[in-house]
């Protein structure tokens, strides 16, 4: 064990900029990072007893649930719970585990974890989809048992103490959204790439984040305090007084810079020669509207409505949605609100317990080998039109109180746009008949984030009221590089020449059809002049980046930007292009 004062530095991938200084909070999902501990022979019986008790408590849980479900839920739920009870009596979960505890003299958690992983592995290699799906039951049962083995380790992200640095294997979006920036100083994870949704949220909230750090190893060390440098990717354990001082200085500097930028936030976003560029904000949490108005946003260019689902772990009702949308559009005071209908699936999933009323939507889809190419976003909504109906009805009702636009995510074929448009009309008609009010005009836009829709952008531009380029997904699909995979994130360049050509094509198509186009997503500031040069006049970015984007735009003349864009198109490799842009940064 290192002496108390020894400073240790880990190097990871920088994900979200900034300096975080604080105390470690190991955040565990119920199944990850199970420590292996040897159990002395004398205590084996006690250990087995501990497992039996956890199993017993789990059984009682399920029995209670079953009793409750008999009253109101459909009989299938009772029978699923029945199966879970049977599984808890399965020799593989009773005698086999007990034998292994005795045989290996290891703690129950590690053995249980190994066995469950073995089963998961076995089931996931089965060709049959239906059988693969049964893994969920096993996972569900094992989570419950593990939860009882380690009842104290469940901390809620929203309830951590001040100056917490969250250390975990992986961040899921629904948890990240709960994190309060005034409590959480930084994130450090083992898995996760630059553009995972969790990363986007961390950046939007301004929480420093470093990934690709071995948390298991870190957990073995004595950590009293640590510094996370989200700009360089360093994690410094037990910093010396000197190091601490150095980072506190940097932190102060950041704050100063940000203040300078912020003072520019109420200036117009315009080029030196007076071309106006509107900067909107992306938003996940409706409570953060005040902050984005303070940052000088022209409205909300992308409201990721699925976070209403992800944060409450259930689909919100029409009334709940209506109240939220209405409140949002009212506090925007005439500025537009673009609501992207639920983009669920892909990495935006949550594991609902099988008795949850919304679990059926996900169990029917099952485990997808390739979720980013699977049933997500508009595909999910067209599969379950009842969910889309409810959301559209809430949006239409709220549109009476301000300017709302609808954005359809992950369009890969024009028919998807047509179905949504038709559904909007149907819902509008039904609403009218029941005496409800809605805005006369409700613009419908389509996200360009799948290569097929980028290629077909001219036809789509004719069909919709506006286009929205979503770069994060577009890049991952065009370059066939998983954005959350740390070994392919090198391939994932925002400045890849193929992306530039596609963007130029889409902007041209939108201009020809006289439809507006908005650029959504995160980009390096070096990309900004390029994009204005291509003809983009609307951006939607995380609120805290608005001042910086405005600041960049105000340094350029439109003609220079156009020239830069033309020149940039001549580079054929991402690396060259990146260098070219870096030398022209202002």
């Amino acid at each position: 064990m290192p002496p108390e004062e020894e400073e240790i530095i880990f190097r990871g991938i920088p994900i979200s900029k900034g300096i975080g200084i604080g105390f470690p909070i190991f955040f565990a999902g119920a199944e990850d990072q199970v420590l292996e501990v040897a159990i002395p022979k004398k205590e084996i019986d006690l250990e087995i007893d501990r497992y039996r008790k956890a199993l017993d408590l789990s059984r009682k849980d399920v029995e209670t649930l079953q009793r409750l479900s008999l009253r109101e839920d459909p009989p299938e739920i009772g029978s699923i719970l029945g199966t879970h009870l049977e599984m808890m009596q399965d020799p593989l979960l009773t005698s086999v585990i007990e034998e292994r505890i005795r045989g290996t003299q290891c703690n129950t958690e590690s053995i249980f974890h190994h066995i469950i992983e073995e089963y998961k592995e076995r089931f996931s290699t089965l060709q049959d989809h239906y059988f693969q799906e049964r893994v969920r039951d096993i996972v569900d049962v094992s989570r419950r048992i593990l939860g009882h083995l380690r009842p104290l380790e469940r901390i809620k992200m929203g309830e951590v103490p001040h100056n917490s640095i969250i250390l975990t294997h992986e961040l899921v979006p629904s948890e990240t959204i709960e994190a309060n920036p005034s409590l959480v100083s930084a994130f450090v994870t083992t898995a996760g790439g630059i553009t995972s949704h969790a990363a986007i949220i961390a950046r939007a909230k301004g929480i420093p984040y470093v990934a690709n750090v071995d948390i298991k190893q870190l957990k073995k060390l004595q950590v009293h305090s640590l510094i996370v440098d989200g700009s360089q990717g360093f994690v410094i354990l037990n910093p010396t007084r000197q190091t601490l001082k150095k980072y506190q200085e940097i932190q102060k500097g950041h704050l100063k810079n940000y203040k300078v930028l912020k003072s520019a936030s109420h200036l117009k976003g315009e080029t030196i020669d007076g071309y106006e560029v509107r900067i909107f904000a992306n938003l996940e949490n409706p409570k953060e509207i005040d902050q984005l108005l303070k940052a000088g946003a022209s409205g909300i260019g992308l409201f990721r409505s699925e976070y209403l689902f992800l944060s409450r772990k259930a689909f919100p009702s029409e009334e709940e949605q209506f109240v939220i949308y209405k409140r949002m559009v009212k506090s925007l005071k005439g500025r537009p609100l673009v609501i992207r209908v639920f983009d669920i699936g892909g990495d935006k999933k949550i594991d609902l317990p099988s008795h949850h009323p919304d679990a059926k939507y996900f169990t029917a889809i099952g485990h997808e080998l390739n979720p980013s190419l699977g049933c997500r976003a508009i595909r999910f909504l067209l599969r379950y039109p009842e969910i889309l109906h409810v959301q559209l009805r809430a949006i239409l009702r709220a549109s009476y109180y301000g300017e709302i636009h609808i954005l359809i995510p992950m369009v890969s074929d024009i028919s998807e746009v047509r179905i949504v448009r038709q559904t909007v009309e149907e819902v509008r008609e039904a609403l009218r008949k029941s005496g409800g009010k809605a805005a006369k005009r409700l613009p419908i836009g389509c996200m360009i984030e799948v290569p097929s829709s980028a290629i077909m952008c001219d036809a789509l531009a004719e069909e919709v009221d506006f286009l929205s380029i979503g770069t994060n997904d577009l890049i991952q699909y065009v370059l066939a590089a998983d954005r959350s995979n740390s070994s392919t994130s090198d391939l994932y360049f925002t400045t890849h020449p193929s992306i530039l050509r596609l963007i130029r094509m889409v902007v041209a198509a939108a201009n020809r059809a006289r439809k507006s186009i908005i650029f959504c997503g995160e980009c390096d500031t070096s990309m900004i002049p390029l994009l204005i040069g291509f003809g983009i006049r609307e951006f939607s970015v995380a609120a805290r980046h608005i001042p910086l984007i405005k600041h960049t735009i105000r340094k350029w003349r439109i003609l220079d930007a156009c020239r830069l864009a033309e020149e940039a198109l001549e580079y054929s490799s991402a690396q060259e292009l990146k260098q070219f842009l870096a030398t022209h940064k202002r």
Binding site: E86, P91, R134
Partner: protein, 95 residues
């Protein structure tokens, strides 16, 4: 033990129900075997498992029309086999 008859029966049974040996049939097999004394093993695609474990039965991933070799061993082997044959034949009540 005096008087104990050791019987071993092996039969091949075809899975008839449409979804194969999924969770519910597996659960009903385990339940059916609870009062029986015999040890029961299923063999499918070179894999032999203990039929008293739902999770093991599921792991066979036996679909409709799969043929399972059922081995029953013990004094009530004959009766146990009869119960099993019935259950498979009735498609575990799904028909």
């Amino acid at each position: 033990m005096p008087g104990e008859v050791h019987v071993r029966i092996v039969r091949k049974i075809r899975v008839k129900n449409s979804l194969g040996l999924h969770t519910r049939p597996a659960a009903s097999i385990v339940k059916l075997l609870q009062p029986r004394k015999a040890s029961v093993y299923f063999t499918h695609k070179n894999e032999t498992i203990n039929a008293r474990s739902i999770m093991s039965i599921l792991m066979l991933a036996a679909k409709k029309n799969a043929v399972i070799e059922v081995t029953v061993e013990g004094e009530d082997a004959e009766l146990t086999m009869q119960h099993l044959l019935n259950a498979f034949d009735m498609e575990f009540g799904e028909k």
